[in-house]
């Protein structure tokens, strides 16, 4: 077992090779001494160097947002610019989604494989949107009923769709 060059007490678990001007130096330290060793301290700071946001920013570097108008003034609500979004990988507020417009679609597709929400809708916004979703679902069921030649069921579904559509108008 190799002991720490500095304290000579604990086992050396940190091994550093440096090459400066073609001169190679090796350091063998224990965790404790390495923490206090000049110039090494920051290398123990692993976590902040990697985060989902940096990673995302990296993805954005390839610029899936190029489709968005380059002169986009950014978000009128929080002031986040597209360029800044590309750096931090996070939005500044909920209005950003609208402000960055269609340029977001390719990014979301790349991240999520889809760009359209099909889940829960808050009741407050729910009303009409919920009904439209319901109609879409019933239409699919209707197609299926027709394929299966279940005409009674199809007629029921058709009536239900009609009444929902009337309600929307």
């Amino acid at each position: 077992m190799m002991f720490c060059q500095e304290c000579q007490k604990r086992p050396a678990t940190v091994h550093v090779t440096r090459i400066v001007n073609n001169v190679k130096t090796e350091l063998h330290l224990c965790q404790e001494c390495a923490k206090h060793h000049e110039g090494l301290a920051f290398s123990f700071n692993f976590e902040p160097n990697f985060s989902i946001h940096k990673f995302l920013a990296g993805l954005l570097g390839g610029s899936p947002l190029e489709m968005a108008p380059l002169q986009s003034p950014g978000c009128p609500n929080c002031g986040l610019s597209l360029a800044r979004f590309g750096e931090i990988g996070r939005f500044g507020c909920s209005r950003c989604y609208q402000a960055f417009g269609d340029g977001l679609e390719p990014l979301l597709r790349r991240l999520q494989g889809a760009s359209r929400h099909a889940g829960k809708v808050p009741r407050r916004v729910g009303g009409k949107l919920g009904v439209r979703r319901e109609i879409e679902k019933l239409r699919e069921e209707l197609q299926q009923a027709i394929r299966q030649e279940a005409y009674e069921r199809a007629a029921e579904l058709r009536d239900r769709i009609r009444s929902l559509e009337q309600g929307l108008e």
Binding site: G89, C93, L108
Partner: protein, 353 residues
């Protein structure tokens, strides 16, 4: 009241040790990310805006009608808690490490009396509604989370878009804002070297497997967290249903691996389990890593009927009790690593006695 209790008592709802597949699935978690319309997201908000958001949420959860719908809830601003107390909440999985780390009077936590529901205020998003249940109960956890969501939504104006769904700070959460995860104990899968294969398969299906304490932590004691990756496109029910069915397959793999071990290597298995039991019930100094390894073996022994006089709920409690912050909480003072190793061994000995 519930927060004070949560800090004193290691037990929390998810440790119950009862429910479907409790021998392999430790807990099920559902998290919903929500934001209030127009307010800047926490990472760019100024203190005033942040406080406003926190007060709005606090008023919503302390509203008597909210209590009627959801049950008793306590609210606290995180800067009223010591860093140690915040770490205890992390160790109990009630808040995220990120939430505990940042100072500031705008960060809050609402916690239900039974500690099943916790709502982080001004974490990465304005609201993170979290429900934690014991064993494999994803559907139940989703139902409760959705109910809490409805109750909040009737009092707060959420940021929602017809096309993109619930709008979140990070584009990886947009849509349903739903992250569902299960904590599984897979010693036999790990022992039979199938873990990597299983995890590669899961990642192809859009699920992520991580160590116990989330992003960037390794799996300790064969405990893994499996969660959905995609939040936009599928409905909540689909996400939950897919994860539940994937979990049932993981459970099956683990059960098969256990049976194989029983058939081919019973003596070695018994030796391993009882050695671990011996170490845990006799050691005077034990590190967290070593304890996790042996606790995993003892848990396996208990689940396979090799060991009997151990209580599964007690094992779950130990997962929190032996962590650094909780140990210091029990000791009533800050203690160094050596004293923690001593205290940890003492707690484990008395739990197994």
């Amino acid at each position: 009241m519930s927060i004070e209790n949560a800090l004193k008592n290691p037990y929390t709802k998810w440790m119950e040790g009862k429910g479907p597949y409790a021998s392999i699935v430790i807990s099920s978690r559902v998290r919903l990310a929500r934001n209030l319309v127009d307010y800047p997201f926490p990472h760019v908000q100024n203190r005033d805006a942040g406080k406003k958001v926190a007060f709005l949420v606090r008023d919503a959860v302390l509203d008597p009608r909210f209590r009627q719908q959801v049950g008793g809830v306590d609210f606290v601003f995180l800067n009223e808690l010591s860093p140690l107390d915040r770490m205890v909440l992390v160790e109990k999985h009630l808040i995220s490490p990120q939430h505990a780390a940042e100072e500031g009077p705008e960060r809050g936590l609402a916690l239900s009396d039974d500690e099943a529901v916790s709502i982080m205020v001004n974490e990465e998003d304005h609201l993170r509604i979290q429900v934690l249940f014991p064993a494999l109960q994803l559907e139940e956890a989703w139902e409760l989370a959705s109910g809490v969501d409805d109750a909040l939504e009737s009092r707060l104006e959420y940021a929602f878009d017809e096309r993109y769904g619930y709008l979140t700070c990070c584009p990886t959460n947009v849509g349903t804002g739903l992250r569902a995860s299960v904590m599984v104990h897979l010693p036999a899968v790990a022992m039979t070297n199938q873990a990597n294969r299983l995890f590669t398969a899961l990642s192809k299906l859009g699920f992520v497997v991580r160590g116990l304490y989330g992003e960037g932590t390794e799996a300790r004691g064969n405990l893994f967290q499996v969660s959905n990756q995609i939040t936009l496109g599928p409905s909540e029910e689909e996400i939950i249903g897919n994860l539940a069915s994937v979990c049932r397959q993981i459970i099956e793999q683990e059960e098969m691996a256990r049976e194989k071990l029983r058939k081919d290597a019973l003596t070695q298995l018994e030796d391993m389990v009882f050695r671990s039991y011996g170490i845990l019930s006799n050691a005077y100094i034990i590190s967290s890593e070593e304890a996790m390894v042996h606790l995993s073996n003892v848990r396996l022994g208990l689940d396979m009927g090799l060991l009997r006089n151990v209580n599964i709920r007690k094992l779950n409690e130990l997962l929190v009790e032996i962590r650094p912050a909780f140990l210091q909480k029990l000791a009533g003072e800050e203690i160094d690593a050596f004293k923690r190793d001593f205290k940890r061994a003492e707690i484990i000995r008395s739990a197994l006695a």
